[in-house]
Structures are given as C-alpha cells and as structure tokens.
Symmetry: C2
Subunit: 108 residues, 2 copies
DNA sequence: CGGTATCCAAATCGATACTG
DNA sequence: CAGTATCGATTTGGATACCG
C-alpha cells in the first residue's frame, strides 16, 4: 500500500485533509496530546463509540504516516503504548485552532 | 433535515469536523476566501474534478450551516454568486494553519 | 446557467467472532 | 490485552440525463 507521503499534491489543504481527515484521526491525536502516552485499551475507553476495527486501522495509518509511535512490550498479557511523535505534535496548533473555534461556536 | 447547529456536542473537534469535514467544504471555503465572490460555474472550474452533484450539495450545506451566502439574480440566463459570510470567515485562521502546515510538509 | 433526479459504484463504518 | 478477519449496512461519490 502506498503511503500518503508518497503522493504528490498541489493543494496543501487537500494534503492535510488526506492525512488527518476522517472521523477519528484528529480525535486520537487530540487525546494523545492531552493525556500523553496511552495504552490501546485506554484509547478505546476514551474514544467512546469507536470499534476495535476503526481504532486499530486508524492507529496503523497514523503510525505509518509518522504521527504516532507504537511501543510494544513483549510480555504476557501484551502491553502496547501509543504516543505522539514530533511530527504528530507539529499539527497540534491547527488542532488547537479547531478546538477553540468549535468551543466558541457549538451549542448555540 | 436537521442542521448540524441543532445538535449537541461535547467535543469541539468533533463539532468542527462535522461542519467542515468531508472532501470539499474546506476547499470551497478556501477558494471563496482567496477569490472573493464567485459564480457557480467559476467554482466548478476552480475545483477541478468536482461534479455538479457534489458542488450543489456542499454549497447547500455550507449555506444552511451559515458559512456562505447565496445571491441569486433573477435574470435569463440565471446568475448566482456565492461569498463567505462573517461566520464563514471566522474559520479562516484554522484553514490558514492547515495550509501552512500542509505546505511545509507535503512533497518531501 | 445553475441547478435536480436517478441510478449505480466505491469507500467507510460497525457488529461480531476469533487469535496469540 | 491487543489485536485481525469477515461480513454486511450505511454513507459517500460519480455519470448521466433532464429541467426552468
């Protein structure tokens, strides 16, 4: 499968949307930003309503696009921790903007 | 149909994504921001690849969510102009952030 | 010119079951 | 615990034709 960073874009907005658009990715990044390192099960609890399939799929894509780091501890039962990379953190100002805009406009 | 501003959200990111997520909305807003007032056919030319269906659908939603203003001139052949409302303009800083982030990361 | 309507294809999403 | 596999429902997107 071709990663999105392989492709060529002319519009930076299209590019950005392609990387972090969709229903869950920004929410995942947002939770990792505010909570720090999180285990798979913690993420699942925080992101109420997300299914196994969606969570693991989105985590995989976020990892392969360089936004998050996956640390696996070889023990039984397994333990996996997810955290933002520096690249992942670089999108946070945009997210902050969205969050602030949303806060001042929703529920009214 | 229930407009999105009717619904209640707890997460501002979810709210924002719901309003301006999807494949075309931000691009439409972006074009209206840089070009100013645009006719339907101008938008169609600018947004290479968009179909009638998508364009009119997205414009309708953007209008009903308060982002754009639709001015119809009663003449033959018809003429319709679209422009950003103040509310629509209020999202521009977020878009600018996305554009800058995209510019500095794409194609490398 | 600026749209709708219809029909169909494709992508996305979700429930459930199963695994090391 | 942290996933994958499978299937089906739902949503989204596109081609084309038609309308005032």
């Amino acid at each position: 499968m071709e990663t999105k960073t392989d492709m060529k874009y002319n519009c930076p907005i299209q590019y950005t949307l392609d990387l972090i658009g969709g229903k869950w990715k920004l929410i995942i990044i947002w939770h990792l930003a505010t909570e720090g390192i999180m285990r798979y099960s913690e993420l699942r609890r925080s992101l109420k309503g997300i299914t196994h399939k969606m969570l693991s799929q989105q985590l995989k894509e976020l990892e392969s696009d360089g936004f998050i780091h996956r640390e696996e501890y070889p023990q039984v039962p397994p333990k996996v921790e997810y955290s933002l990379t520096d690249f992942g953190k670089s999108i946070l100002p945009v997210l902050k903007g969205m969050s602030e805009w949303g806060t001042s406009n929703m529920n009214k």
